[in-house]
């Protein structure tokens, strides 16, 4: 055992105690593995972040039942601002010992407000001052601390308001902090995260493997020297593992460094859901230990596996020269199994709304991803083997790859996983975005603000305030009732004038006295003429008019003009304010006008142009983050490719110099290098695009979602890959130039 | 043109003692005993000259006009006559140095003497070597040609000669590479 450790230590010494070259190699390894470790640490922090969030979320829940008079009254309200929601609670302390919510110093008095830092920032912006501040006339008496916030960018307030009265909805608060069940993640979002994590983690593992093998030829020469002085083959392997260990340890140091360097800036992420308190981002002990142990073990195992075919002899390294024809059948297993699992699950997740059997889906995705680097070496070998090389440059490249395509294939295998994952994510994103956009576009075209005042609001004052608001052209009123069919179906009933109906969609030939039925989205009829409804609230019976027209204009249910609604008593009223699209932020002005009402009693719905812009911004940020991540991984891969290419030029210095001396144009040699880099990358890009798109389609099918293609994104990725190929080749050219200069001919 | 021979025996090339003594005298007049000592020191390693050889050679050179009497040194030794080199003697040394030896094995005594004397007299030792190389190469070319046309026996015999000639040339190259070092030593 001592000898084993001694040999490993010798390996570490060889890795660090050498020339500038061995330092460069160690630095590259450290950087490559370090990037991976940092990603792993962030992934390992995810449980803590989510736990902390959940804890604070629970702490925010009100305990609404208790004995005696309630010490505190609370009304929750969200203020939409453009596409963001400012959430908060209006509070009224009924006794001096009223429970204080987490994150603030005291229950705010009447006319006082606590705001979150993000809300304070927003209110300080010009737009916030003009368009949001009117809704917060209270005096800001403090900010909400981290203990009261889910994430650093959350928009939250606690305002004191003496007008709150106890009501039957249960606005009484006896204390704070209660755990509610449920509220899990949206399955699609959940799957997106899984795919994302797999996509990120996989290349990390691949790169740890590749980085371990950087500059292998140089290492082999060193090891041959060890054999010469009498080390046995197995000890040499152990020493080689020691070198890999050194890289892994350097990677751990770099990784932890990166992690702690990046962590403090996490609260500056502009998308609130993605931001996190740095102090929450703490990898769990178990996962940290796993990373610390697994990365070096992986490095050692990879290097042992890599040397399986290498026989290190005292006078040099013999690689089993006869290239072993790679067998395909077992390489196909993960891909086929992955596809089979995904196909078997197609459409199932859409059916049940809870958590369907996600494991087959996740396993399918992971297997498909795993299949790429497994399949790629075989594929590259096959393709290259079939090529003959029309031009001398291509011939040189093809022959070179035929002799050893493994190294390049492994490097690009890592790239391929990232690319495939990115493509899949882009497709999922494009799919989600398309749905969201379609909804928003539809509503944005209407450009109406819907106002839902509470039942006891001063509706006339609201109507008056709306009418005088900037950018509001007309205000319609829609009364609402709700009925139950004998068969058990619930029917929403809207009573509105023809003008008000027209505000919701085209209703042809509308005259007062007509009645309409709006079928469900899937075409199922909601109610039929002559049906008898039991009205909620009043409990009276009401018969559906006999002359019933069908329209698609508005919400499913019945739509009645006032004359057709005789005998119906509405329990609720809604206002629809038509907005002048030429007035910017008309919706915000209208919302500000509503402050005449008690703020917690009015709800507004509007998705207009500003909001789509915001959604686009969010998608844009996600896409840029995705691209940045891809670019980063591709850069690491390109660096690996560069090392491989430089090493090859160095190994082939002599033949290259002779070729140049014999008059072979440098251009031909440069082109052969380009081909040599381009072929594996091209194959892997095609494979990863195909896999990514295929996986995307399969996953979208699983969710029964519409398939969308992000051609621009795919084009961009392809362009980046092409660019990197040229960049790597260009960076190899100086060393090619050096090798082919006449000095390359001079004996070493 | 040199005719190549087949050298199957060890032939010791006759060393030109006369030229050697002349070369030594170029450094300045000496008497016979000095000359013998200088010669033995530089060239006579295992075969020192006899006095008789020295005086007979000197008297031949005197007769040919290559050396001349330079007076008798005062002292009590038996023979204190000093000799000096004449212009004709210098010319003779020059001719000797610039004429390559017939490319034969075991020339080193003569070649070495030539190199040392060239150095002693401030002439170019490299020229001596190049001249000799050229002569050797000509012989080797002829042998190579014969080898290409001949049967296996011819080839083997030619190769023997070629390898020996090559050894001479390699020795020449080695000497040439150390001329500066040698110059320091001989002029000390």
């Amino acid at each position: 055992m001592n000898r084993v450790i001694g040999d490993l230590v010798l390996g570490v010494r060889l890795a660090v105690g050498g020339s500038r070259k061995s330092w460069t190699r160690l630095a590259l390894q450290g950087l490559g593995i370090g990037l991976g470790v940092a990603v792993l640490l962030f992934a390992a922090s995810l449980p803590s972040v989510l736990d902390a969030r959940q804890d604070r979320h629970n702490a925010r829940n009100a305990v609404s039942e208790g004995t005696g008079p309630a010490p505190l009254l609370a009304e929750s309200q969200s203020h939409p601002f453009r596409s963001e929601y400012v959430r908060g609670t209006y509070l009224r302390a009924m006794s001096p010992d009223a429970p204080v919510p987490q994150g603030i110093a005291k229950v705010p008095g009447d006319g006082e407000v606590f705001v979150s830092p993000a809300l304070a920032d927003l209110l300080a912006t010009p737009a916030g001052t003009e368009l949001l501040k009117p809704r917060f006339p209270q005096k800001v008496v403090g900010t909400i601390s981290q203990a009261g916030l889910l994430n650093p960018r959350e928009l939250l307030f606690f305002a004191g308001d003496a007008r709150i009265q106890p009501n039957e909805h249960g606005n009484t608060v006896y204390g704070w902090g209660i755990a509610h069940e449920g509220g899990g993640m949206d399955p699609l979002l959940w799957l997106l995260s899984i795919v994302g994590i797999v996509v990120l983690l996989f290349p990390v593992l691949v790169f740890v493997g590749v980085a371990t093998r950087l500059a292998a030829a140089q290492r082999d020469r060193r090891l041959a020297a060890l054999r010469l002085v009498g080390a046995s083959a197995s000890r040499v392997r152990l020493i080689a593992s020691g070198e890999a260990l050194a890289g892994a340890l350097a990677g751990l140091v770099v990784g932890f460094g990166l992690f702690y360097a990046v962590r403090p800036s996490l609260d500056r992420i502009s998308i609130s859901e993605l931001s996190a308190f740095p102090s929450d981002v703490m990898p769990t002990t178990a996962l940290t230990l796993t990373v610390v142990v697994a990365v070096p073990v992986l490095a050692v195992v990879t290097s042992l596996v890599a040397m399986r075919r290498t026989i290190i002899e005292p006078l040099g390294v013999v690689r089993d020269q006869k290239p072993v024809r790679r067998r395909v059948w077992w390489r196909l297993v993960p891909v086929v199994a992955g596809i089979a699992l995904l196909v078997s699950q197609a459409g199932k997740i859409g059916e049940t709304d809870g958590r369907p059997n996600q494991w087959p889906v996740v396993l399918g995705i992971v297997l498909l991803m795993l299949g790429i680097p497994v399949l790629l070496p075989w594929l590259v070998e096959r393709v290259v083997f079939l090529m003959r090389g029309r031009t001398p440059a291509l011939q040189l490249a093809v022959r070179r790859l035929q002799l050893d395509s493994g190294t390049a294939a492994r490097v690009v295998g890592g790239v391929a996983v990232v690319l495939a994952g990115t493509v899949t994510l882009q497709m999922l994103l494009a799919g989600v975005e398309q749905e969201v956009r379609a909804d928003e576009k539809k509503q944005a075209n209407f450009n109406y603000l819907t106002i839902n005042p509470g039942t006891d609001s001063d509706v006339n004052a609201i109507a008056a305030a709306l009418k005088s608001s900037k950018g509001v052209t007309v205000v319609h009123r829609i009364d609402q009732a709700f009925g139950t069919l004998d068969s058990g179906g619930h029917i929403a009933i809207n009573i509105a004038s023809c003008e008000a109906l027209a505000a919701q969609g085209p209703v042809p030939n509308c005259t007062d006295g007509k009645a309409y039925v709006v079928p469900y989205g899937d075409g199922q009829p909601t109610a039929q003429a002559g049906d008898v409804l039991t009205l909620r609230h009043s409990g009276e019976k009401w018969t559906v008019p006999s002359s019933l027209e069908t329209t698609q204009a508005t919400f499913p249910g019945l739509v009645l003009t006032p004359a057709a609604a005789k005998g119906l008593v509405a329990f609720n009223s809604q206002y629809i304010a038509k907005l002048d699209p030429s007035v910017p932020d008309a919706a915000e002005h209208a919302r500000n006008a509503l402050t005449v009402a008690r703020p917690w009693q009015v709800f507004t719905y509007f998705v207009g142009q500003d909001d789509t812009a915001e959604a686009e911004r969010v998608f844009g940020v996600i896409r840029r983050a995705l691209l940045a991540g891809t670019l980063l991984t591709l850069l690491v891969a390109a660096a690996s490719l560069l090392v491989v290419a430089l090493e090859q030029v160095r190994e082939r210095r002599r033949p290259l110099a002779v070729l140049a001396a014999s008059g072979v144009p440098r251009g031909t040699l440069a082109r052969s290098l380009l081909w040599q880099n381009a072929l594996p990358l091209a194959i892997s890009t095609v494979v990863s695009l195909a896999t990514g798109i295929g996986l995307g389609v399969l996953v979208m099918r699983v969710f029964g979602a519409e398939v969308a293609y992000d051609w621009a994104g795919l084009g961009l990725i392809t362009a980046i890959v092409v660019g990197l190929t040229f960049a790597v080749t260009a960076l190899t050219l100086p060393s090619l130039r050096r090798a082919t200069g006449a000095l390359g001919l001079r004996t070493e | 043109m040199n005719t190549p021979g087949v050298y199957m025996m060890c032939i010791v090339a006759p060393m030109s003692i006369g030229h050697a003594l002349l070369g030594l005298l170029e450094g300045g007049p000496r008497h016979g005993y000095d000359l013998k000592r200088a010669y033995d020191e530089r060239f006579g390693q295992d075969r020192p000259l006899h006095y008789g050889q020295v005086y007979s050679t000197l008297s031949r050179l005197l007769k040919n006009g290559f050396v001349t009497d330079a007076g008798v040194e005062a002292g009590d030794g038996p023979e204190r006559k000093r000799y000096a080199i004449t212009d004709a003697g210098v010319t003779d040394v020059e001719r000797w140095l610039s004429t390559p030896e017939k490319p034969e094995p075991y020339l080193q005594n003569t070649l070495y003497a030539k190199v040392v004397l060239a150095l002693l007299s401030g002439r170019s030792a490299a020229d001596v070597l190049d001249t000799q190389r050229s002569a050797h190469l000509d012989t080797m070319r002829e042998l190579t040609r014969r080898k290409s046309d001949g049967d296996l026996a011819d080839q083997l015999i030619c190769d023997f000669a070629l390898f020996h000639l090559e050894a001479d040339l390699r020795w020449l190259e080695l000497t040439a590479a150390r001329i500066d070092q040698l110059a320091v030593e001989v002029n000390r």
């Binding site: 020269q321 001398p392 011939q395 040189l396 022959r399 070179r400 035929q402 002799l403 082939r652 002599r654 033949p655 002779v658 070729l659 140049a660 001396a661 014999s662 008059g663 072979v664 144009p665 440098r666 031909t668 006449a742 000095l743 001919l745 001079r746 004996t747 | 390559p100 490299a126 190049d130 001249t131 190389r133 050229s134 002569a135 050797h136 190469l137 000509d138 080797m140 070319r141 042998l143 190579t144 290409s148 070629l162 390898f163 000639l165 090559e166 040339l169 390699r170 190259e173 040439a176 590479a177």
Partner: protein, 224 residues
């Protein structure tokens, strides 16, 4: 007829003066040995007269063209079409088969693959190594590899073959064989050979020698 003529060549690498006013003249069809101790500048002289290295000063004329006035790509093309090269080792592309290696110069000049490989096969046969045509250089012996290299140098029917220590990595017998084949083939095709060597037995295959010492070349053909 003088084919190649260089005068007053000087070349320095950093502080090392490799050539210091060297000159040489090569007639069509002759075999000239360039001799000299290692470090004397004989390889640099070969690189300069073959247009691989531009000299610091001096001129190199091939026929009526001034090599020193040419740009890199023109010199490359001249080397590819008019000259052939044989070096001591490591000159074959390890990934290509021997046949492809020999065919490479022809293909670079635009010849069709089939034609190029047919010509290459002929030359491999002339150098008695047709049986290694399908093997990679790493799978052949040193002597075979060097003969393949000679075939590659000759395949374009060059006017001058530059050989820099072509037998340096071979034993005597293989070296002699390569030299015999090289000079015989060169005489048959009328190509001149500039042979850099420090071995007299190799130089003995030449018609005359030029000695390089301390960066200066000497003409020692005097006893003719």
């Amino acid at each position: 007829m003088t084919l190649l003529r260089a005068e007053g060549l000087s070349k320095s690498f950093g502080k090392t003066q490799a050539l210091d006013g060297a000159g040489i003249s090569i007639r069509a069809g002759e075999v000239v040995a360039v001799m000299g101790p290692s470090g004397s500048g004989k390889s640099t002289l070969l690189h300069c007269i073959a247009g691989i290295l531009p000299p610091d000063s001096g001129t190199v004329h091939y026929r009526d063209q001034d090599l020193t006035a040419m740009n890199d790509s023109t010199r490359s093309e001249l080397r590819r079409t008019e000259f052939g090269f044989v070096f001591q080792f490591g000159q074959l592309v390890p990934e290509l088969t021997c046949l492809e290696n020999v065919a490479l110069p022809l293909r670079l000049s635009g010849m069709k693959r089939k034609d190029a490989e047919r010509a290459a096969t002929d030359w491999l046969a002339r150098l008695e190594v047709e049986d290694v045509a399908g093997q990679r250089p790493g799978e052949t012996s040193g002597g075979q590899g060097q003969r393949v290299a000679v075939a590659r140098a000759l395949v374009t029917a060059p006017k001058v073959i530059f050989a820099d220590e072509p037998t340096g990595a071979l034993d005597s017998l293989n070296g002699e064989r390569v030299m015999h084949l090289l000079t015989t083939a060169a005489r048959e095709t009328g190509a001149a050979v500039v042979l850099v060597t420090h071995e007299a037995r190799v130089a003995a295959y030449s018609d005359r020698e030029v000695v390089v010492r301390d960066g200066r070349s000497r003409d020692v053909e005097f006893a003719r």
